[in-house]
Every structure is written in structure tokens, then in C-alpha cells.
Symmetry: C2
Subunit: 233 residues, 2 copies
């Protein structure tokens, strides 16, 4: 199975104090995504940074929302690394067809990000400048992944977030049923193989059930397709 | 006449090499607007910066467009100076009813900033994050002032730009005929008073003509109003 090489460009001025970022970092590490924290760079080596971008299949900007944008550290990185020639100027388009995603954490609930609500702007509107860069570079734009109010999440919600986050980083897009099932199957295999001997039996049972369900679903789907084709004749 | 205290917060990483910014600076100095260049600040003194904002009637962010936003220097200033409490958090709203303007210089022509055109985003869309801050602070939002392709401007176009820029900084808004005429009359007086003795005669002639035209226009306008009122009876 083709593995998507994902580069997560993270911006946070006090990342060690951010529970949210630490939580997400574990999720990214688990699936071997490259975690690249821009505020830790002593000096920005433009060639090296551009090299990282060239090697990736999927590039993600991840940051807490500060005044409807990334912290200034990411803007500094953009202003220095993303030269005009690199993005589109010399017509080589090194980022062409790579995927571009945005992960935004915020202390406000999503319902505040609407016209007429407290923030009076949608997150999508606030992210428009980043997408305009990706568009110039002919990248494929993924839907925004927002993480509102991590602090208020229950343990269950956090686990759901972790899985959704890992899928956003490593699952082929679009987020279709087929792509989702394949991702889960692969990750269930890995999960079960890492269980202790005592839990192997239960783990394999869950895995078998998952695969059985998936196959049943495919059969039903095929049957429906045949019926439909019969009707069309 | 009430003088508007205008604070121009300028961001440019190499301002001495920017002909556009130097040109605009002269225009701002001429009308006694406060020119505040953020990249020159050694360390940002939050109290002092917030004090400058408190004293102003009109606050302008002025910068070249770098990746659909201000250079990172302004974002740094925002991230540090604009604390949540200052903008809206403690409900004192120190910026309430002050005017907020944006002056954006760009090397691209305006027609590129449209959906479907090269940049695929309007300047207004790119500026949404700044306006969202102003909105939270209950400021009055002025229309964007854009300066596209200063380098290609003829001397005449540059003079027009200078006057429009000075009006944006110092003329009462909205940009109505009355406000514009008052602004021009005031500035013509000043302009004529600063002319050499040889040019005083011509200068005064221009000024007299301007005032005469203005009065004629007011008379015509009054007459039209009377006719309209007569018809309505």
C-alpha cells in the first residue's frame, strides 16, 4: 500500500505548554508523519525547507488561531521560504498536485465563527490567504480540519479527535467510505499486532468482524449495482 | 476645524529600499499623521503601543502584500500588542468608534485579484482577518485603499495617489462631496500660503476660483432642493 508522506508544519510560540499540540504530536508520530515546528528553527535554511516541501506528498499547516491567522512564526517562515520562484514564478511548480491541508485549533466554539456571531468571520474565510498560496502553487486543497475547544473535550471526544487527526494526515483523500475503510483496516491490523498476548484473541475477533462487515457491505453494494444495471437495460 | 489624529502602523522589512513607502511617508508627514514603522521597534513595549492606539482617532495598517497578508513584522506586533483584554476581553473597548483603515501596496494589477484570475482571491477577502479584529474592537471600518503597481505610475498618477492617500489619512469619512470639498479648501489654503511671493497671485486665483465654484455648486444644489420641495407640496 502506498504510504502518503505527510509534512506537518506546526507553528506555536509556546508549544511545550500547549496540551493540544502535545496531544496531536503523539498522533502524528504514531503514523510517521514529519512534525516540523517552525519556532524551533534557529535560522531558516530556505533550501532545506524547500527540500522538505518537495519530498512531501501532503503539506499541512497546523497552528492555533491568533487574530484570525497563524502565529507570526509561520508568517515569517512563509515570507522567507516561499519565494515567488519556488511557488510559481519560474513555471516549474514543484508543489503541483501535492495536497495542502490546514489544521486550526481555537479556544472558541465553531458556532462563533459566522457572520453576525461574535467573531463575524468563518474559519474558511480567515484561511483564504493560505489557500490562495496553495492555489498559485497548483496544489490540491483539502477541507479545513478545525479543533475547537480541546480543553472541554471528554476522553472519548479526544480519542475520536486523535483518529480523525491521523486520518487527515495519512488517509487518501477524498474522505470516501472506501478510503476510510481501507485506512481503518490497515490501522486495525497494526493495532492488533501490537497488543499483548492476552488481548490478541479479542483483537483478532474485532479485526475479523471488521473485515467481514466490510466484505458484506461490498457484496450488498455489488448486488445493488447489478439490480440497477438490470433495470437500466 | 477638528483635526483627525491618524496613526499609520507601517510594516515593511526593508522600508529604506521601498520607493513606494518613502513616497507615501512624505505624504503622511506633510499632514502630520503619525508614521509608526513596526520593524524599527527594538522591543515591542505593549503599554506604549496600546497608548498610541488609544490616542488615535484613526488607525491605519499599511504594508506591501506578502502572501495575501502583511509581512510577519505586523503579525508579530498584532500577536504581542493586541491582547484579548485590550481589544474586547474586559469590555472597556478602548478602540470603540475609532476608524480602521488598510493601505495595501502590491506589484500585481488589481484585475488579478478576482476569482478565476491569477491570484484567485480579492484583496477584500485577503484583508478579512484584519477587519475581523477591528470588528471585535467595535471600530468603524473604512474601505480598503490599494496601491497597485506604483512603479508603473506616471508622475501625474503619482500626484493623484499622493492626494488620495492624504485624504484617506486625514479627511473625515465617508468620502462625500461635502467632506472632500472641505478637505480640498483647507489644503488649498495651506498650499497657497506656502507658495513663494511670485506664485502667490496665481495661487490665490486658483483658491478664489475653487471657493467660487464650491459656492456656485451649493447655490445650484439649494435651488434644486427648493424646486423639489415645491413639487412635493
Amino acid at each position: 500500500m502506498w504510504i502518503i508522506k505527510t509534512l506537518v508544519i506546526v507553528s506555536h510560540p509556546e508549544i511545550d505548554n500547549s496540551q493540544t499540540q502535545q496531544f496531536l504530536k503523539k498522533g502524528a508520530d504514531d503514523i510517521q508523519a514529519t512534525w516540523h515546528h517552525v519556532e524551533e528553527l534557529d535560522k531558516i535554511d530556505i533550501q532545506k525547507e524547500q527540500g522538505l516541501l518537495r519530498q512531501a506528498d501532503r503539506v499541512i499547516f497546523q497552528f492555533p488561531l491568533y487574530w484570525y491567522a497563524a502565529p507570526f512564526g509561520l508568517k515569517k517562515w512563509e515570507d522567507e521560504v516561499l519565494t515567488r520562484n519556488f511557488i510559481y514564478g519560474d513555471k516549474t511548480f514543484p508543489l503541483e498536485d501535492k495536497e495542502f491541508g490546514l489544521i486550526v485549533t481555537t479556544g472558541m466554539p465553531l458556532k462563533d465563527f459566522q457572520k453576525g456571531a461574535t467573531e463575524n468571520i468563518t474559519l474558511d474565510e480567515a484561511m483564504a490567504p493560505y489557500r490562495a498560496i496553495a492555489h498559485l502553487g497548483r496544489m490540491k486543497i483539502m477541507p479545513l480540519f478545525s479543533v475547537p475547544q480541546f480543553w472541554y473535550m471528554s476522553e472519548e471526544e479526544q480519542m475520536q479527535l486523535l483518529i480523525d487527526y491521523q486520518r487527515y494526515l495519512s488517509q487518501p483523500f477524498p474522505d470516501s467510505l472506501v478510503n476510510r475503510e481501507e485506512w481503518f483496516e490497515k490501522h486495525l491490523h497494526q493495532f492488533v499486532s501490537e497488543l499483548g498476548p492476552k488481548d490478541q484473541f479479542t483483537g483478532n475477533l474485532i479485526l475479523d468482524t471488521f473485515i467481514q462487515n466490510k466484505e458484506n457491505l461490498e457484496q450488498v453494494s455489488d448486488t445493488l449495482k447489478m439490480i440497477k444495471e438490470g433495470e437500466d437495460e
